[in-house]
């Protein structure tokens, strides 16, 4: 909360357990790509058709 009147708190995007975000989302075509890495270090690419990540 920044304390400004009427301002809604920013919802913090917390990744689920077992993944780490690896950077900002990339957009191409109808998709947004979120790069993550799994617990064992393997890359996990999550593609979203909607605007931004689905949580």
């Amino acid at each position: 909360m920044t304390g400004k009147p009427g301002e809604q708190p920013q919802e913090e995007k917390v990744p689920p357990a077992g993944v780490e975000p690896a950077g900002d989302a990339e957009r191409f075509g109808p998709l947004t790509l979120e790069r993550m890495s799994k617990e064992d270090g393997r890359a996990l690419l999550v593609y979203h058709l909607s605007e931004g990540p689905a949580r």
Partner: protein, 309 residues
């Protein structure tokens, strides 16, 4: 890491990935590694409660850096779906995923050929039923794409372009067409219900396709797969093989851009309950012997595609 050995008699590489012997084999749906991870449930490969399309490095890879890549492409979080049942927008999105993966893997110095494919059905050796495909980044040019490039030389130009022209002239083996794509049973099909889905215009790879062409490619592919499922009124097993330009990363490979994006389907069924096996002639002599004429297969598939709608 897999080991490559060159088979002198065949003139081709053989990859040994011995860890794959222990890979997950036909788990029950409660332990599907490609399903989302639900609260209280087992951890899967995808630690998300829901997803649309995901790609990850194969846990049991045939190839790994610095000698290639092996990825799994999960089409949907719906365990019971199939490529054919995906909403049109999802199938179109998958084409963009394929394109993005081709772009990224092509840029790697250890990848000579990006091969996108899907194995569907236990009849072709599927070990996980959840709808998915794979991508191999081969560290060499595999024999089948190499043969296609040799066909370009033999025919004095793009072989797929010449074959499309021939099919259009003949007319009797065309299954469906739209503004960007033509699907046909090849004149010399090796599998009973083999289908090729080609970009009608010369497009070396997914990178050369316009956005609407990717949409129309997805539409054509889904039309074929739905027709397959209607043919014998059952989920139709197949290998779906995406062929496009090699990356040209290795010094002894053809120029990047050679190739023509097309997708080949190799379905093993020759009748509702009968499989076409690769037996003596196919394996020992390299000559397919087919029970079904391509023109007959095309008539049946056209009718099935019409029924599937």
């Amino acid at each position: 890491m897999s080991e490559l050995r060159f088979n002198e008699l065949r003139g081709e590489q053989v990859a040994y990935a011995i860890d794959r012997q222990e890979r997950t084999f036909l788990p029950d749906r409660g332990h599907c590694p490609l399903c989302p991870t639900h609260p209280g449930g087992p951890q899967t490969e995808i630690p998300l409660p829901a997803f649309e399309i995901v790609v990850f490095d194969n846990r049991f890879p045939a190839f790994t850096a610095p000698q290639g890549a092996a990825e799994v492409v999960v089409y949907t979080d719906d365990h019971d779906a199939s490529f054919g049942s995906l909403p049109a927008a999802r199938a179109e999105a998958l084409m963009w995923v394929w394109r993005q993966r081709y772009l990224e893997l092509s840029a790697r110095g250890d990848v000579e050929y990006v091969y996108i494919f899907e194995n569907r059905g236990v009849e072709v050796g599927v070990t996980l039923h959840h709808p998915h495909g794979q991508i191999y980044g081969y560290p060499f040019l595999p024999p089948v794409p190499a043969l296609e490039l040799a066909a370009d030389v033999r025919l004095g130009g793009c072989a797929p372009c010449a074959l499309i022209e021939r099919e259009r002239r003949d007319g009797e083996r065309i299954l469906l067409q739209n503004e960007a794509v033509i699907a046909y049973v090849p004149h010399a099909a090796r599998w009973p219900y083999e289908v090729h889905v080609s970009m009608a215009a010369h497009r070396a790879s997914l990178l050369e396709c316009e956005p609407q062409e990717l949409r129309l490619l997805a539409e054509g592919l889904q039309g074929v797969v739905r027709g397959y499922d209607a043919l014998f009124d059952r989920p139709f097993p197949y290998v779906m093989a995406v062929h496009q330009a090699p990356t040209g990363r290795k010094t002894d490979s053809p120029t990047p851009g050679a190739g023509h994006l097309h997708i080949e389907f190799y379905p093993p069924l020759r009748a509702p309950q009968k499989l076409k096996f690769l037996a003596g002639s196919e394996q020992g002599a390299g000559t397919f012997i087919s029970d079904v004429l391509p023109e007959e297969a095309c008539v049946r598939l056209r009718e099935a595609i019409g029924r599937a709608g």
